[in-house]
Assembly symmetry: C2
Homo-oligomer: 126 residues x 2
DNA sequence: ATGTTATTTAACTGGATGGTTTAATAGTGG
DNA sequence: CCACTATTAAACCATCCAGTTAAATAACAT
């Protein structure tokens, strides 16, 4: 069995599963509700399997409601996956800023100063 | 062939490859330099293959220097992988804050106000 | 030319993944 | 009990993946 973090990334390495996660960002849903957009491309058992992958990876949790199984995101799990990048965010963003301004000045065909202050990616500190 | 984003996540879904990326955050390195810490666990061709996975995923680039191949991170590539989460960061952090304070009050066994201000995770805006 | 160092390719293996179809399980409502 | 709905399990298949060993390629040094 793989380590948890690898399982999480592996779970994210599939467009169907990412779409399911994005769906669940909007709110919890039963298995069939989640399956609905995919049933033209794959069978229900395939959907179940994808959900199991997400569950084993700790990204989704299921609870029972009468016959239905209700799935919802496990945000803590997603957080853990993001932490791999988060861990290096500082170093990384610094480099990306340099890259951003390089690309910008290259596009603008002018050699402006080394740091560009406008940056949609930079997060506001709430 | 898979979509780029899936390839990136798949590339990250392996502890060896993540370790390689973390190594490259410290600076570029030749294949053998990267391989060195792993050679007790696997052969050189295995390392080459891992690097190829990272390269195909757009996370690493290789340039040639005499006999050596020098590998370095492609930060733009990493950024793209992170954007999947970034895309939902706002919604997500809000929920995590709620979760944080819930866990905190649960641990502290006291029903404090709904928002706890101390939070190591929250990033300072540089 | 020959050998040495650095890296990749080729061919192969075992095990995981993503899908299928058919059948089983479980709860709800006559 | 019986039928219906919702979901999963089992068995199977094709492909991909991570590793192996042995051989090929490439650049350099003598």
């Amino acid at each position: 069995m793989k380590d948890q973090l690898s399982q999480k990334f592996a779970a994210l390495a599939d467009p169907t599963r990412r779409a399911m996660i994005l769906r669940l960002f909007k709110g919890e849903a039963s298995v069939s509700e989640i399956a609905e957009p995919f049933l033209e491309q794959m069978s229900l058992p395939a959907v179940t399997k994808h959900l199991q992958v997400l569950e084993r990876a700790g990204l989704v949790v299921k609870t029972q409601d009468t016959q239905r199984r209700i799935c919802s995101l496990n945000l803590e799990g997603l957080k853990e996956a993001n932490e791999f990048m988060e861990q290096y965010r500082f170093m990384w963003e610094q480099s990306l800023d340099r890259l951003d301004s390089y690309l910008k000045s290259a596009n603008a065909k002018k050699q402006s100063s080394t740091r560009s202050p406008t940056n949609g990616r930079k997060k506001q500190s709430k």
